[in-house]
């Protein structure tokens, strides 16, 4: 996976924002997944623009974080969510 990828939440996933956190439910597997404040912001941005590169640039502006650290964290989270069926390639 790279920042050139585009991702979206599949129709088979339900989401619910609870305060600053988000819970996702994969309706095909019945498994739940919780996201903290930063992870919730990632999903929020991804829902408005499916390009990881755009989400990355926006989060780099918003958070006090090293570019390489953010990139690694975003790609790791994206990979994990894809493996759980919570994200899928867009377009």
């Amino acid at each position: 996976m790279t920042l050139n990828d585009s991702l979206r939440i599949p129709d088979s996933v339900a989401t619910r924002t609870m305060g600053s956190e988000t819970v996702l439910l994969n309706l095909e597997t019945g498994t739940y997944f919780g996201l903290d404040t930063v992870g919730s912001r990632f999903i929020e941005l991804l829902e408005s623009n499916d390009k990881l590169s755009v989400v990355y640039s926006r989060m780099l502006e918003e958070y006090d974080v090293e570019p390489d650290t953010l990139k690694a964290d975003l790609l790791r989270l994206s990979q994990e969510m894809c493996s759980r069926g919570l994200l899928e390639p867009a377009g």
């Binding site: 439910l25 739940y32 919780g34």
Partner: protein
């Protein structure tokens, strides 16, 4: 047929269910038949789900405690070492075929404490694997995995001017203003050591099932039972054992994850049901305070645990007098 009420459900049974209270409503919503014992004849069953229970290495045979399969006319819930339960699609009929030599007390336990919670999960918005007691301010519930101390804690509270609402299966309904907890049926199931420590000396105890040493205590003098539905005040998750007592508020998201984990669900592959249930547990998590409860599992700590929970409830009341 004998007719009873459990968690607001009227059930008719072809065998007596002495654990349940009598009911004046004879319009049964669910019918149970105990059929003659037999060995399962069906083969090549496509199981879609199974339950594992925590066992010691010596006990671990690798076999699941329960398996679930879907049929054209409903569901099959198999307890491989005890019995098959066939549940109709609309959960209005349950038929049990026990293995030979499985006693009726075990069948009743499986029906009341394993199968009926699953049936209720299809009829009610939320059915939690939780014990609960009624306090002066409302119902407090204790959710957690098997063996975490739900029954012991409920029993400890029930002996201190609280009424037992549930030992293991808690039905929650959303009313116009709040969530209410429905009483399940009288009594708790605890290990003999807990009965020795907490029950009255003259309290009657009974077998729970042939495969466990747990005892059923239904002593209404020492363990008063709630008279009817009452508002739900707070939920506590019994967390991993810790040497010190602490109560930590859960975020709504963490509470949602917890209630989802501890909810009964007959069919985890029913996407429409899962979506509706997700909304329900989300609403519960947003509206009812939830806490993680850490404490040492020692009888000598129970009074301090009760005090910690009462302090937590008073603090909630101070912060939110409404």
């Amino acid at each position: 047929m004998h007719t009873y009420c459990i968690c607001g459900l009227t059930i008719a049974s072809n065998i007596p269910l002495p654990e349940l209270g009598p009911t004046t409503n004879f319009d049964a919503e669910c019918r149970f038949w105990l059929n003659p014992p037999a060995y399962p004849s069906e083969r090549d069953i496509d199981w879609f789900h199974e339950w594992q229970i925590e066992r010691t290495d010596e006990e671990d045979s690798g076999e699941p405690w329960a398996r679930f399969a879907r049929r054209e006319d409903g569901y099959l819930v198999r307890f491989p070492s005890c019995a098959d339960f066939s549940v109709s699609l609309d959960v209005s009929e349950v038929r049990c075929v026990p293995l030979p030599d499985v006693p009726e007390v075990t069948v009743r336990h499986l029906l009341l404490d394993q199968v009926l919670p699953l049936i209720l999960s299809r009829r009610e918005r939320i059915v939690l694997h939780a014990s609960a007691v009624s306090t002066k301010s409302g119902v407090i519930a204790f959710a957690g995995r098997s063996g975490r101390g739900k029954s012991t804690l409920a029993m400890a509270f029930a002996q201190q001017e609280c009424a037992l609402v549930s030992d293991d299966c808690l039905v929650l309904r959303r009313g116009e203003r709040n969530w209410t907890a429905l009483p399940s049926y009288p009594g708790v199931r605890v290990w003999q050591s807990t009965a020795d420590e907490l029950a009255h000396d003259d309290a009657n105890t009974a077998d729970v099932a042939h495969y466990t040493d747990k005892r059923r205590i239904a002593d209404l003098q020492g363990l008063p039972f709630a008279a009817g539905p009452e508002p739900l005040l707070a939920l506590f998750v019994l967390a991993d054992e810790q040497p010190t007592i602490s109560v930590q508020r859960l975020t709504a998201a963490k509470a949602l994850m917890a209630w989802a984990e501890f909810a009964y669900n007959l069919d985890i592959t029913d996407a429409a049901f899962l979506r509706a249930h997700f909304e329900s547990v989300g609403q519960l998590a947003a509206e009812v305070p939830a806490h993680a409860l850490y404490y040492p599992r020692e009888f000598s700590s129970l009074e301090a645990v009760r005090v910690a929970i009462r302090n937590c409830l008073e603090e909630m009341n101070t912060n939110d007098p409404e």
